[in-house]
Amino acid sequence: MAVENTILICAGGACISAGEESVKSVLEEELKKYALDSVVRVVETGCMGACNLGPIMVIYPEGVFYQKLKPQDAKEIVQEHLLKGRTVQRLLYKGPTGEIKPKAKEELPFFKRQVKVATRNLGVIDPVNIEEYIANDGYFALDKVLHKTPEEVIEEVKKSGLRGRGGAGFPTGLKWEFTRKSKSDEKYVICNADEGDPGAFMDRSVLEGDPHSVLEGMEIAGYAIGAHHGYIYVRAEYPLAIERLGIAISQAHEYGFLGDRIFGTDFSFDVELRIGAGAFVCGEETALIQSVEGKRGQPVQKPPFPAQKGVWSKPTVINNVETLANIPVIINKGAEWFASMGTEKSKGTKVFALAGKINNAGLVEVPMGTTLRELIFDIGGGIPNGKNFKAVQTGGPSGGCIPAKYLDTPVDYDSLMELGTIMGSGGMVVMDEDTCMVDVARFFLQFTADESCGKCTPCREGTRKMLEILDRIVEGNGEMEDIDRLETLAKTIKDTALCGLGQTAPNPVLSTLRYFRDEYEAHIKDKRCPAKSCKSLIAYTIDPNKCVGCTACARACPVNAINGEVKKVHEIDQDTCIKCGSCYEVCRFDAVEKVDAIDLVTN
């Protein structure tokens, strides 16, 4: 019997966390029950990007998009949609004003405005089935390059204008050329899949949803520079990515796309997985090389660069996951096509992970030069709960925060640099009026201080000193001179740290000082946290005019700090209160308020 329907189920990280597996198993049981399993094809795909709507299912040929599914919903979908041809209205996407969008994937701005290159196969193919990758032009580019000279391949990548997507934005073609020119009996390709920036999940989604595109990119790099061996360094926090890469590697071997004499040519290439062990600094290329060799992941001085002396002291190309996933498309569609997208100095598209205080948290790919406003409001759906946008953080612990007045900035490597932040790997964490910018800076400093490998003094000691100062400020014990101290320390660390981790660690502080200096001053001079977020500076109180005595807060309080009888106004005992905010979360009458602690004291 011919297949009549194809059901794509998103098996990206967020959908799995939201219960995709149980939805799928109920679906399959139900299909069996009605003997539909031979005419309905169920495909688990990589991340479709609309992570806040998960679990998601799209049913073809119609393209009906069902969202926020529970296992039992799968029964209804089989009985109603598949058997009776009736769309299940209840499970369709509804816009903010209640309008129904049955074919959300074609209709929503979230999907419509994207241009997918690196994520072309995500949500489209089954990542554990190599034939689906092949059917979508997979390994076609590899075949194509094996009929060219390595120099021609490098020229093509150079012409495309592709820059590294792992953070620094170094031109990929140039990096390949340097490594090609290094003389050695052996060379290596490393795929950097360490994705350590908190708030970033682009690489994870590509590894899980389209692992072959990364393998193909690595092989093309290998051919271009003259390497026969590659390593993929994946962080241990991504077990599913590790599993899918393992499957992809063995399938590619089976089909002759990896191994000896690929496509009957003289080119042989092999790929090995290396699993990280929880050290952020290992994303830095020289530290990563140490770790691949099984050592402590401490960075080493550059030069020599990996292009001259990399893993096992041999010339090595290190590229990021997304960089490599772009390569097969550039080869297939040509450098001109790729370079026609983007801005003058940043070509092509970029994948962003939208997270934080944003309605459509998820994964998006757009042409370089798309403005922050388009990304956050048109595609990302703006800020939840009617709150105001305050800032967007890019570049993780090496980056900075961009305030509202720059929302119309077209995003590319250079424009972000001008604003005092970096593109980084593409994580964008959106913050609203409830986020304290001093606390955010402190969060990142804590992160880098913890992750500093300890090898060089500026980073090891300097980040710790900066953290101490920030701790003081958020606790209300700062002094105005602390701001100068932070600036002096920042400058010294930037100029003297050994590797990129230390050199960029002060950025979150410098950028928040640049745009949100008033918040620092409010903490120091007025002992107030404008966002009402820093624990030491706030207190919770109950508005007697709003409290109805429902007792919800008293029941939620973990330390029994709230007193009051049913239907009578409740009160918080400030001495017992640990400011956990549980009462604030549970009150349905807006009676619990956050106030500046200093006002309570003086009253």
Binding site: E237, I275, A277, P558, C580, G581
Partner: protein
């Protein structure tokens, strides 16, 4: 802490893995991953064994174990509760979740509870930012959009599971 004897059958399992690795150079981290899977943690006895089998100094093994946060020299709870401390989770109150967990369990840092059932760990971004704040119990049980008041409920579900296992 009980000492693990050299006659422990788990060493055999580890040796089988070490023998299966063709390319020994650079495999130390991989071997440690496997050893931690087998033993649950990496006490001195296990480290010495690995050093001997891979023919590297014990100090090198120790150096690597202490460098990477994934490796632990102390036992962990049967259910490891990982609280994501990525930016998105932090902005959405991940630290409140952490505090509530430690308070409910009466533990500090990542020490296991007295019954050995739980230990609480701060972890780096789990890459599930759209569900922030997130908690991962063991390797598979994801809890998204967690609020502090959901914590007792989550913990109880594991206690009940244990009680049920003990009955069977």
């Amino acid at each position: 802490m009980p000492v693990i004897l050299e006659t422990d059958s788990r060493f055999k399992e580890l040796d089988e893995y070490i023998d299966s690795v063709k390319e020994k150079s650079g495999m130390l981290i991989g071997v440690l991953h496997r050893a931690q899977e087998i033993f649950g943690y990496l006490p001195k006895e296990v480290q010495s064994h690995i050093a001997e089998r891979l023919n590297v100094p014990e100090s090198t093994v120790y150096g690597v174990v202490t460098f990477y946060s994934f490796f632990t020299m102390k036992p962990r709870g049967k259910y490891q509760i990982k609280v994501c401390m990525g930016t998105a989770c932090y902005v959405k109150g991940g630290n409140k979740i952490l505090e509530r967990l430690r308070e409910e369990l009466g533990v500090e840092e990542s020490e296991p509870t007295k019954d050995g059932l739980f230990s609480v760990h701060e972890v780096r971004c789990l890459g599930a930012c759209s569900m922030a704040p997130v908690v991962l119990v063991g390797e598979r049980d994801f809890y998204g959009r967690v609020t502090p008041d959901k914590i007792p409920h989550i913990l109880n579900s594991y206690r009940q599971k244990e009680a049920k296992n003990n009955e069977d």
